[in-house]
Symmetry: C2
Subunit: 138 residues, 2 copies
DNA sequence: AGTGTAGTTGCGAATCAATTGCATTTAACA
DNA sequence: TGTTAAATGCAATTGATTCGCAACTACACT
């Protein structure tokens, strides 16, 4: 009884064993994972997969809107996370790289609250994505 | 009359020609640059430098607190910027990768304003850095 | 000014995440 | 069940960043 996936499978994507493995690892994880972590976890489960396949699966999920790709700590780590996890922002410990979901979003009155955790803030970063005047008209 | 550098040279760092080149390129630029862009700019000025030297110079400046390293677009680009530039946050065009400094900061009432530029926001990212409970006590 | 030396650079090679090419396999649907 | 576009195994490549080491140089001290 493994397939407890509660996500509608994105149409256009074939439902394969490797993709289900990748998705299930993300589902079980409480925080975002790197491609390599996902790969290792799948291997540890006794299944065989290639790292390149993990990357391709993740790309497909990102494109399908099921997974979010984030980078953290200015390039040290690239992480993937299920979009449905609810939270979009994280507090990152510069000591141990632990990733703690924030309970609120800076878009609405910014006062970082953290999930049962004290956190000594030393810095923050905000990025806004979108289209500039020129690119908007293309 | 090239050395118009208005920055106090960080003590502990030798003042060399390559480092002055790197710093002057950053000074002239109105937006953050990648290591490769800095490298190309220096070559274009007719001076010879190695990319690895640019990286080392940037590392030294970052360590000295003179330069800021940021990543943008979820790891697609790593950029360097003079800390004194004043602004800390950017709007990044996902079309052309143009980087536009924001006039305000999300820490105080978040409503992104941009410098003479319309910008169609499609997403945003916030990261908070610091120490978690465990790391704080070390 | 001359010199010792720790810090820097030139240069190439190495590393490491991520991507790609291609032949083979497989899920999905007529 | 057969066809086929999509996905995977696997190897090789790319591209950014780092590293090793010998040669060089800024700068502190006579």
């Amino acid at each position: 009884m493994k397939d407890a996936s509660k996500f509608k499978w994105p149409k256009g994507l074939k439902r394969t064993k490797t993709r289900e493995s990748v998705l299930s690892v993300l589902e079980v994880s409480k925080s975002p994972l790197s491609a390599r972590e996902i790969y290792s976890e799948i291997e540890r489960m006794g299944e065989s997969i290639w790292l390149s396949t993990v990357y391709r699966a993740l790309d497909a999920f990102v494109e399908a809107g099921l997974v979010t790709k984030t980078s953290v700590l200015d390039n040290e780590i690239t992480l993937y996370d299920l979009k449905q996890s609810g939270h979009k922002h994280y507090a990152v410990c510069v000591g141990c790289h632990k990733i703690i979901p924030m309970l609120n979003c800076p878009m609405d009155d910014f006062k970082p609250k953290l999930l049962k955790e004290e956190f000594q803030i030393t810095g923050h970063k905000v990025e806004v994505y979108g289209y500039c005047t020129e690119c908007k008209e293309l």
